[in-house]
Symmetry: C2
Subunit: 331 residues, 2 copies
């Protein structure tokens, strides 16, 4: 199997350079450092790589897409910083989160700065054959995904402790929280690469599908992976009482006793491994682990089907490999 | 004297309607309510009115500028919501601040939502003779002012307890924190109204000058106004140890004894009225209250001088009256 991690890495160096250049001019220095911190902590760079590869796949010029790709990574980073404050998550990418290092006020501000810079970087994009209409269209999908990220995070917070959430509402939440920005990443690549409307819309759908699969697979890995690959204990989502597709589906299908038992375990945010295993057994009894995997697989299949609209190229192959990678990764 | 408050009010109804329309479609409802809350709390609507009036003054069409004007008010509101969290200010516009009503997580998110919506509203602006280049130019100045707002707030926080701050650094901070968005409000009006480059730049300078005067006058009123007009005790900035132009200038001019005494009072955030009066007397001794007023007046004079570039019109007269209002207001 071709190493997708190296495809992402290969594409992301120009993005890292662009981010560094744009964030280094921020003053005071403390704000610049807090804004740069997470972007230097070594994320997968999935979103900006998707933007660049999509642009290439539609025949675009990489250099006019770099600032947009970098901007999308900044939007992602901004949302991580603010989410970590809201969710009181003290670790991110194996390091203390921004608010743990600089305090909440500067962390809020670092997020706001990344957000502002992201728009500025798209607005000031330059390149051959690049026109204001393309930039405007890209900005429209980026702003739309930002609204959705906020709506998704608000829904996610409102779902906490609510065990009546149905599958549709759950899928809508993860689409907004995770899928929308990945869809925007690929759509922006298509727009900046000069694709026509049909291809632009197709690439949005491709991104949306792999984004959803990505999130569902994250939850799936939490119960089927091994502790070493995952870097955290198996079933930690259950221990934290997190809502996942497996939970939503189990609560929909389970009898009253099993439902009650599952809710009890999820409500107790200090569950022992025994209880976590009991919850996993309830998932298994109602086939919801397999169900989650099937939904993710279906989304990936559909995403790859969509790629047929593109002419054959190395970039197209990369997009297909990335779709598979969403399911094949171990962490 | 013509009532500037009614000029602002007259212009702002379309803005309020546009904001309401754009924020009502946000889901979940709680996020929509938290986002709308402050915009309904009755601000002066100075910034969006300036955008609309400037657009009119350069011969533009009001209807194509409304979304931009509304967006600028949203950016202002976003920054108030986040600043109140950072500064732990529990009241705003005479009501509990957003984080007091909905908690910090939803307040952070409400700010982020307003920010996202603001960009979306400018991007989707429609109107006769409006082209993508104008929208792009407007977005560029708005994004630039957002970066500056973040930088200004970070500087402001870093200045806390630092009594070595010089006048230039202080003025740069208030320009970024307050002046930049007002400058962007007038510049955006000029761009969307179809003005040429010279007029666009002139209107940025007009906004910057009245923005600076506005902030300096705020600080000045804190020591010379009366408690009833101000709605808070005289000298409350001193009691809170806030940095103002009067403080910066006094520390620059005062002898060692007076400097030490002033710093002592400012460091004690529970100063009695006696101590506050002592600080005001130090300002008076070194003429820094008069100095602050003179700087504000000079900025207003320059701002009005700039308006000469515009053809005579009712809108131009309004801009001149607003410049005077910055100094003539009592609160």
């Amino acid at each position: 199997m071709v190493d997708v991690v190296s495809i992402l890495k290969e594409n992301s160096q120009v993005v890292i350079d662009s981010i560094d250049e744009n964030l280094s001019i921020i003053v005071p220095e403390e704000l610049s450092d807090a804004s740069k911190y997470l972007t230097k902590a070594g994320g997968k760079m999935l979103r900006p790589s998707l933007t660049l590869i999509t642009s290439e796949a539609v025949g675009g010029n990489k250099s006019s897409t770099v600032q947009t790709a970098a901007a999308i990574e900044l939007i992602h980073t901004f949302s991580l910083i603010h989410d970590d404050i809201m969710d009181k998550d003290d670790m991110r990418r194996g390091k203390p989160s921004v608010h743990k290092v600089w305090g909440e006020p500067l962390a809020i501000l670092a997020g706001d700065t990344l957000f502002s810079k992201a728009f500025e970087m798209i607005i000031t994009s330059k390149g051959e054959n690049l026109n204001f209409e393309q930039i405007n269209k890209t900005l429209a999908t980026v702003a739309d995904s930002c609204v959705k990220i906020c709506e998704g995070q608000a829904s996610d917070m409102s779902f906490e402790g609510d065990f009546t959430v149905k599958e549709d509402a759950y899928l809508d939440m993860i689409f907004k929280k995770t899928g929308a920005l990945i869809a925007t990443a690929t759509k922006s690549g298509a727009i900046m690469g000069g694709a026509d409307e049909e291809v632009i819309n197709a690439m949005y759908d491709y991104g949306k599908l792999i984004g959803l699969a990505f999130q569902i697979q994250d939850d799936y890995l939490d119960v089927v992976s091994d502790e070493e690959s995952l870097g955290k204990p198996i079933g930690s989502d259950i221990a934290e009482g997190k809502m996942t597709l497996m939970v939503v589906k189990a609560l929909d299908k389970a009898d009253d006793d099993d439902s009650e038992r599952l809710i009890e375990i999820l409500k107790n945010t200090n569950s022992t491994q025994d209880k976590v295993d009991e919850a996993i057994n309830i998932f298994k009894k109602y086939g919801t682990i397999q169900y989650a995997h099937d939904v993710a697989q279906l989304n990936v299949n559909k995403a790859k089907e969509i790629l047929k609209i593109l002419p054959d190229s190395e970039a197209k192959t990369s997009l297909s490999l990335i779709a598979d990678f969403v399911l094949n990764r171990k962490s």
